[in-house]
């Protein structure tokens, strides 16, 4: 199977595009792996299956994003090479998605905050000036709309649930809220992508994201924490949390033990 059909536009900022594609692909890879950690151990069979299915979608999207990243880089690396042979400092995912699963409530809250952003981002990327980015987004957004609907439904069900479930969802929100701001903050890569007409500025997603997230959280009877502090350093690779390295030792174990192994 070879890569996608459409050809790249005549001129594009290749280095910045590579960074951007790694951000998209590393988000889906890291969250996909985190969700797969629940496989066989989620609290109910249906949720186990749903979580594994969501992980599968995200890993599939990773193949597309990192496949295009590898093609853009033109250094002979494949999507698998990028996923399995880079170390933590070369990852470009948001800090939010690398946070540990915690209890099922925290896992759901992490997905909910990310899914709402992911859907908005992909909707805009379907209009990307780069037809290859637009094609991947058009494929992925159909799957992610499903993820976003499910995580929002469950946040409401558990937030507006029992005293126990409400308490856990509030604790999850309090813990994860400071990781949400990174999704909506612009940096030099984002500005280059916006100027090239490839991707929207993250800050342009802030209003619709806040509106959709706060509407759901209100229905869930949860209180959004005050304060605008946001942890940074995931998407530019400057300061990943210690959790990413531990996750990678598991995820990349086989390629570290047997470099180049194939099956």
């Amino acid at each position: 199977m070879s890569a996608t059909d459409p050809r790249p536009p005549a001129s594009q900022p290749a280095a910045e595009l590579f960074e951007f594609l790694c951000r998209m692909g590393d988000n889906t890879l890291v969250l996909g792996h985190r969700l797969s950690e629940w496989c066989g151990t989620a609290p109910a069979l249906e949720e186990d299956i749903a979580t594994a299915n969501t992980a599968l979608d995200l890993i599939g999207q990773t193949q597309m994003w990192l496949g295009l990243a590898a093609e853009t880089e033109g250094a002979g690396r494949s999507a698998d090479d990028l996923a399995m042979t880079r170390d933590a400092w070369d990852f470009r995912n948001l800090l939010l998605v690398e946070q540990p699963n915690g209890d099922f409530g925290r896992t759901l809250m992490r997905s909910f905050l990310f899914d709402a952003w992911h859907r908005l981002m992909l909707e805009r990327l379907t209009l990307s000036g780069d037809p290859r980015v637009a094609a991947i987004a058009a494929k992925a957004v159909k799957e992610v709309a499903y993820h976003a609907d499910r995580s929002a439904e469950l946040v409401v069900a558990l937030g507006d649930g029992t005293e126990e479930s409400h308490g856990r969802m509030q604790a999850a929100l309090d813990r994860l809220w400071p990781y949400a701001g990174e999704m909506l903050a612009d940096d030099a890569i984002d500005r280059a992508m916006a100027e090239a007409g490839i991707a929207p500025l993250p800050s342009a997603l802030a209003d619709p994201w806040e509106e959709s997230v706060r509407t759901t959280l209100t229905r869930a009877t949860l209180t959004v924490p005050e304060g605008a502090f946001a942890h940074r350093g995931g998407k530019d690779g400057a300061r990943h949390s210690e959790h990413l390295g531990h996750m990678l030792t598991t995820m990349q174990w086989l390629q570290r033990a047997y470099p180049g192994a194939r099956w």
């Binding site: 199977m1 070879s2 890569a3 996608t4 059909d5 459409p6 249906e46 299956i49 749903a50 299915n53 969501t54 992980a55 599968l56 979608d57 995200l58 890993i59 599939g60 999207q61 193949q63 597309m64 037809p131 637009a134 094609a135 991947i136 058009a138 494929k139 992925a140 159909k142 799957e143 499903y146 609907d149 499910r150 033990a257 047997y258 192994a261 194939r262 099956w263």
Partner: protein, 174 residues
């Protein structure tokens, strides 16, 4: 220090495989389509890959044939198996295949053929519909309840019939 064991050798997916050829290779693109319509979907073997609408292009040039396939869901593990099955079938028929993946335009359940929808129903899977399953595939009752938005494969959800109480798979509208 104990030497680390080498990983077991893995044969190539199609290497060392006897090639079976009955008669001349397909002469037209129609013949190739007919051949592909015999390849079952690995997860729902009652429908073929052409029923599923995932074969997007067939281009025949002498013995060389290019086939473009689109994934149903981007992470569907069957996609890889299907690509191998297509390659094997075309090799067996005496052609030199190139199988590519095409994601644009994205697959939609609108591309399921009417024949496929009927085959799904008879197999016990409710075919996709905008507002969820129209009827229980077992007893035909129209009072049905969603159990879970997800099922045993990415393309299915779990439902239950309120009349006969049997659970059933629903092929998600996508």
């Amino acid at each position: 220090m104990v030497a680390r064991p080498a990983p077991a050798p893995v044969p190539g997916a199609l290497a060392d495989r006897p090639v079976r050829r009955d008669g001349p290779p397909p002469a037209t693109e129609g013949d190739v389509w007919a051949l592909l319509s015999q390849i079952p979907d690995p997860e729902i073997p009652v429908i073929s890959i052409t029923d599923l609408g995932i074969v997007r292009e067939v281009a025949l040039d002498g013995r060389a044939v290019r086939v473009a396939i689109t994934p149903t869901y981007s992470g569907c593990p069957a996609t890889f198996v299907i690509a191998i099955a297509v390659e094997a079938a075309l090799l067996d028929a005496g052609l030199t295949p190139t199988v590519t993946s095409r994601i644009d335009p994205p697959w939609t359940t609108d591309w399921l053929t009417e024949a496929a929808r009927e085959k799904l129903r008879r197999y016990g899977i409710a075919p996709p519909a905008t507002r969820g399953p129209e009827a229980c595939p077992h007893c035909g009752a129209t009072t049905v309840t969603q159990v879970s938005r997800h099922g045993s494969t990415p393309c299915k959800a779990q439902w239950r019939c309120d009349a006969c109480a049997e659970p059933f798979d629903y092929f998600k509208c996508h």
